[in-house]
Amino acid sequence: MNKQRFLQKRRQEWKRFEQLLARRGTASGGRPKPAEITEFSRLLREVSNDLATIQAHDWGQGLVEYLNNLAARGHDAFYRASPAGWRPALEFIVAGFPRLFRRNAGYFAVAAALFFVPLAATWIAVQNEPTLALRIVPAEQLDSFDEMYGEASTSDPEHAAGGEGSDDDDVSDHGFGEERAAMAGFYVQHNVGIALQCFARGILLGVGTISTLLYNGIVIGSVAGYVLSLGHSEKFLSFVVSHGSFELTAIAIAGGAGLMLGDAFVHAGQRTRLESLRVRGMEAVQIAGGAAVMLVVAAMIEAFWSPAPIPAVAKYVVGGFLWVLVALYLGLSGVRR
């Protein structure tokens, strides 16, 4: 076969394929007609064949590059990732995420221990000996917490947003309104960010995740212990009980996902370490994604419900209900019968 004649014969088909590709690339292309799909599929196979022919005959790098590009773009268009949509997203939240969570519950248990045990320990220690809090959280920050949960409490989100761990710390007597909207933005940006970082740092053999969990547990515990030691217990507890259900659980879940990443390297099992990272990484990121959704829910509760000017008893009831809801969701949602 002669190169020039081959080119002459095939050029029209390549131009046609380029046209089809260009139409696929634009949003206005709309749904392809059945005949068009058939033609596209035929041309893709032909172009692939031409590419192999040219490679075999060594007919020039430029030509190979051109056809390689055509075939690659055709391949992209033909074997596209499944499109985004509300349905898969909803399915993920209702069933996919809780299932993945249950399948990897062991990591969650370890992460929860790393988070809640130091939290409880510092809480108890600081409540009995409030000066200990000074060794963990800077004094001016502690003062701002005192102000917040004290009697006259108007506070600016930026002041409360000191360290990484200061996440259940703002309350206001103003109830709903402008300040709430500001806090909603803050909670999403701050808390979801922490959870995602907590997950992502797991890639460093899990060390980053473990330190993030311990740090947040200790800081939250000492703040809680300190505030309670000042006698603001009802105000503080009724504030945190509702969103704590989603928020604290989700942080532990994200931590568990981070541990999965790190553990994939450490305990690779029958796979190579890289392969193990890939398999478990795909599951871990979905769990972290679910945790992020939970934290957005928590942020909304924290911004609009937790500071609402209603009796503490009502908040305890709703808060308790939310804890049960989280447990039921993670434990039972999407169970196959």
Partner: protein, 287 residues
């Protein structure tokens, strides 16, 4: 293959596609462009929101700003890469794309994983803090990313390794024009050469060289062609006009090419159909 940084993917059509992998420099450039864009968009929109919203709805303005910060921090790369076939604006400008190792376009979770793990990749971070301005700038060093890229054969950072993705150059290749010269040039007289047949690689090289000679200046093109033409003339023991070989080496190369590619073909008059592309006679063709 001449290029070594290639990723070969076998498609279901049993054809091997190649993508050229992108190295740290290109990707750093794309990253910096994205960073500038993100900071610019954030500052611009924040100023706008604050000016408009500060009087009427101050709380909502602050909330929106923080939400915007979150979206730019976490959503920017994930969103762009998923909805724009592996590109962010920075990658687009640098001609890069992220794809899965098996050649498939980025999936949602693939884009999410590779961009979340970025947090691990960018360590250690330097924190530049403007005390009175209250603005801090995080400057990532990307240490683990660089080490991982240097150690992995596909130039992948940790996020890429976990999500099975690679970053490749995505150029628009164009159909190369075939040299017009072939139509005009007579083949070499068999009486003037010996029985040596040049290797097919040599012929392909001539073909590619002539096809791309427009990117070289006339002098430089002749200089380069001269070396090959002289060597070939010697190898073929060319008895013809050696002055012409020296003066018009491109024409000689074209004659060699025509001689050895047309010979084994039965004479069918392909040129019967009119070709539009015979516009000018190339410089060397007068030989």
């Amino acid at each position: 293959m001449v290029l070594s940084l290639n990723l070969s993917i076998e498609t279901p059509e049993n054809v091997v596609l190649t993508h050229q992998l992108a190295g740290p420099t290109y990707r750093l450039a794309a990253y910096l462009i994205d960073l500038v864009l993100r900071v610019g968009v954030f500052l611009g929109l924040t100023t706008f929101i604050m000016v408009v919203g500060a009087m009427t709805l101050p709380g909502l303005a602050i909330g929106t700003t923080l939400l915007l910060l979150f979206l730019l921090e976490w959503g920017y790369t994930i969103g762009f890469e998923f909805f724009w076939q592996g590109r962010t604006p920075g990658k687009y400008i640098c001609g890069l794309r992220a794809i899965h190792e098996n050649g498939q376009p980025l999936s949602w979770w693939g884009a999410t994983l590779r961009n979340l793990v970025r947090i691990g990749d960018m360590l250690p971070t330097m924190l530049l803090y403007g005390e009175e301005a209250g603005i801090f700038l995080i400057l990532p060093i990307y240490g683990p990313a660089l080490v991982a890229m240097l150690m992995s054969p596909k130039l992948q950072r940790l996020g890429d390794l976990a999500a099975r993705t690679v970053v490749v150059h995505s150029r628009r290749a164009r159909l190369p024009r075939d040299p017009v010269i072939y139509d005009k040039i007579p083949p070499l007289d068999p009486a003037e050469i010996n029985a040596v047949v040049p290797r097919s690689e040599t012929l392909a090289l001539i073909d590619q060289f002539l096809g791309r000679r427009s990117v070289l200046t006339y002098e430089r093109g002749h200089e380069l062609a001269g070396n090959l033409a002289q060597a070939l003339a010697q190898r073929l023991d060319y008895q013809g006009d050696s002055d012409a070989v020296r003066k018009y080496p491109m024409a000689f190369l074209a004659r060699v090419y025509v001689t050895f590619t047309k010979d084994n073909e039965p004479e069918v008059d392909v040129r019967a159909e009119p070709t539009r592309r015979r516009r000018r006679v190339p410089a060397g063709a007068s030989a």
